[in-house]
Amino acid sequence: MLMNVFYAFLSIALLGALLGIGLAVASLKLSVKKDKRISSVEESLPGINCGACGYAGCAAYAEAIVDNAEELTLCSPGGKDTAEALARIMGQEIDFSAIKQVALVHCWGNEETRSSDFRYEGIEDCNAAFIYFSGADTCKYGCLALGSCIRICPVSAITKREDGRIHVDRNICIACEKCVEVCPTKVMQMVPHDSDWYVACNSPDKGAMVRKYCSVGCIGCRICEKKFEDGGFKVDNNLASAQYDRQYSQREGAAEACPPKSIRMIE
């Protein structure tokens, strides 16, 4: 009786020892040599797998950095700190002259300010609505406010305000540009993180036409460009745009002088 127990114990112990040795040999023989830097690069990345770098996730980007010498500045959520950490690991120097960008809706229109051609009752999505006559609004360049950008944003930086306008929280925005890609009217554009004033209109239509359909649309009157030398505004194709290459002193004055009040402070 006791011997039976002993044999059972012995055979299991032997089997365990054999398999253990087998595994130990296999782990030595079959091991894949992996660059140690990959795991440390991956640890330095934020780990949210947003895909902003263009890779499937942080692990894939880390591999690309080490194996294919991919650029170190592609991680928007990580920003400067991450890029510096990556540079230390990889022993490289990087140029930080590029400033962090954020997405911004270049339109201040909503139900109150602009007219529409018909009542849209279809799928609540900008691209789905855009199929039919480029949207129900008479202005074909503005924000449709049906939230394609809200749904695609990986960090929930975009919200719809109570007045129906779309707002990007620039402190949350990671500059992945997904909203810029998905926006059918191209009203979502990137601006530097530290910019102050912008032109909240995207319509290249002539002033007389814009006046008919929107009360806050840029009419291309050129007051901002001509009267404010240091305003940093340029009018092209009936549409003013702000320049962000440096600080300008007369932005506020130009905003006050703008007849439809299209020049606005970024909120």
């Binding site: 051609d117 279809g122 799928i123 691209n127 199929i131 039919y132 695609i152």
Partner: protein
Amino acid sequence: MARLLTFRRGGVHPPEKKSLSRGEPISRCPDPETLIIPFAHHLGAPAKPLVSPGDEVKPGDKIGESAGFISAHVHTPMGGKVKEIRSVYLPAGFASPAAVIEADPGSSWSGTDMGEDACASMDPKEMISRVQEAGIVGMGGAAFPAHVKFMIPKGKQAEYLIINGVECEPYLNADNRLMIERTDDVLSGAMYIQKMIGAREVIIGIESNKPESLQAMTQAVSSRRLPLTVRSLKVRYPQGDEKQLIEALLKREVPSGGLPIDIGAVVSNVGTALAVYEALRMGKPLMERVLTISGEAASDPKNVLVKVGTPISHVIEHAGGFSSPPDKVVIGGPMMGFSIYDLSTPVMKGTSGILALTKHQVNQASRTPCISCGRCVQACPMGLNPTKLYKLIDHGNYDEAKQRFLLDCKECGCCSYICVAKIPLVQGMRWGKLMLRKKQS
């Protein structure tokens, strides 16, 4: 009576509503003062404008030259002065450049019949080039350039020519009236197409709810001893789609992503056959068409011959305006048509109907969640799973939607029609296709 032919899978049977305009003979719509002629009548490349503002044009002049392979010439039906070239929204929802022409009152194209002999001496190549020169497109709705269809690619053989007299969309009677009133011309056109593509057999498919057409066609075929078969089909939507019609008549299925010619068939609408007849016999470009104006809010439903470029509002005025304010004005049939907001939208080569619908017909119930009842799956003639596709598209999973044959969807509207939850499924499919195109570019 033998069992009527029909297609195998899916389909619906909406109220036919044909009686509103069935007995109305084709009348001519008076000429408008201004023509708005779009340069794009179909998907594919829009024609390249040949005129600029200030130019004088004569009736029948070519004003747009086909640009690209899937593209057709555009002609003006009236003479006058080109006022401007501007962008207009077409019923399908996209914008196209269009020539705005101030028409000379009373100017219209005229030509002489060259007779049967002149056509008989032409070889197929010359016939196709004449069809191309006349800017003929498929008149069933999608307006696919006809000469592209008639040029049989190398290695393929057109065994069958199917003339499509199905007109399965409710309300519409344009093709029905053509078959009754222009029977001989349609049949001659069909014979010309047969010669062009070298088809062995010609079959005309007509749904059984058009007994006058069936009778007229059968009689004409037997009295002229033409090598044609007229087949009666069970009333079922979307039988007028070429894939379903081929299945109903030949029991063959067009492979996914393929064309009818892959299985030896070419399908042409009766309106196209008539346009081919007129182009070959008289050299007449395609610049007018028959359409049905109908609907419960139309005061005088009728079938009219309208010049391409005529504003919709002008046609409606001719038909006595609205009897009650319409809730929607739909261009085309109620199943596949598009509702428009601007009545100055022009009539195009593919416009088969103008429908003024009341609130009751539009039936705008509010949308509720999908209950997975599977009716859309049952109704889809292409054998797709519309609800699954919709969910995939809604979640941004366009690639999987493509793997599940999203691109086989032809937006016939059966799924949206049958959906008890009133989910805009067809719009979802169009949305998915748009996002796929966006991803590719």
